[in-house]
Symmetry: C2
């Protein structure tokens, strides 16, 4: 949730902070994904990560629109959670020599990031609904549905496209 929490006085402040948190997170993900794409070898995994990189850029545009609806400039706030999640992914991508074990680790790292976003968007949607920001709910719901689909695709890659089978063999 980042710094400056002492500025959070109202539920609207909390929603704005949450948006700034996920805005920062999405930007860090755009920077982090190319490194994972470069390290991945399974073709379905590489394609899935590339597709999600493009989706993430569109998600940032939707967040820009959500800030606009609140009359605020889009702005990220450093968030230790996503930094930690990405740090884990980077460590893995740098340190595992076996390509097939690395692919399995990359799927796991990517799914932990997806779940962070699923949690955050779920919370933000509940908050925006309570306040009555229906237009913001719509932007966030589109992003949430994309994150859930990305998570399901990663499970498919791991379980049916051979990532885990090859890592185990």
């Amino acid at each position: 949730m980042g710094l400056f929490n002492k500025d959070i006085k109202t539920f609207d402040d909390l929603l704005l902070h949450g948006l700034q948190d996920i805005y920062y997170a999405e930007q860090q993900i755009v920077k982090a994904l190319p490194k994972l794409i470069e390290k991945a070898t399974n073709r379905d995994l590489t394609k899935g990560l590339k597709d999600h990189l493009e989706e993430t850029k569109n998600q940032i545009t939707r967040l820009d629109q959500a800030f606009k609806k609140l009359g605020q400039n889009p702005n990220g706030i450093k968030c230790p959670a996503i930094d930690g999640l990405i740090e884990e992914g980077d460590e893995i991508a740098g340190e595992i020599a076996d390509k097939e074990v690395l692919d399995a680790a990359i799927v796991g790292a990517a799914q932990s990031v997806e779940h962070y976003e699923i949690a955050r968007y779920g919370t933000l949607i509940a908050w925006a609904e309570s306040i009555g920001h229906d237009d913001i709910v719509r932007f966030l719901t589109t992003n949430l549905n994309e994150e859930k689909a990305a998570d399901r695709k990663l499970s498919t890659v791991a379980l049916r496209k051979g990532v885990n089978r090859k890592a185990a063999s």
Copy 2:
């Protein structure tokens, strides 16, 4: 996933590392939950967090058994992701003066931790299944189901037990 990733050579190593990661995470959660329980005011939220603290202790016992099945001593590895998630929760708990806005923020922080665990247990179960560790799959599935139930209870507290409504009023 913590340090020492250069020791990950096989899929078994990756599974062991994942277990060490979630073992550390569960232990940090046991330390962090009492602080959130102390700060929360909504009675259903406090009860839910207290119940989950007890569940988490049982989950650690199940992880002890999973390590035993692998012939390993239970051991945690510092994991930047859970540290970042808990740091966010601590910051929020320390900095928001309005009790009802704070309750809503605590639900959000707790759900982001739940989703981290849901992601990790999901990944670990898939890995353990691929390797053929059916007994470990059972322990981890029990933990996963508890995390999913805890996440659903937090949504209920936020949406139907008045946390978000009061924060918005």
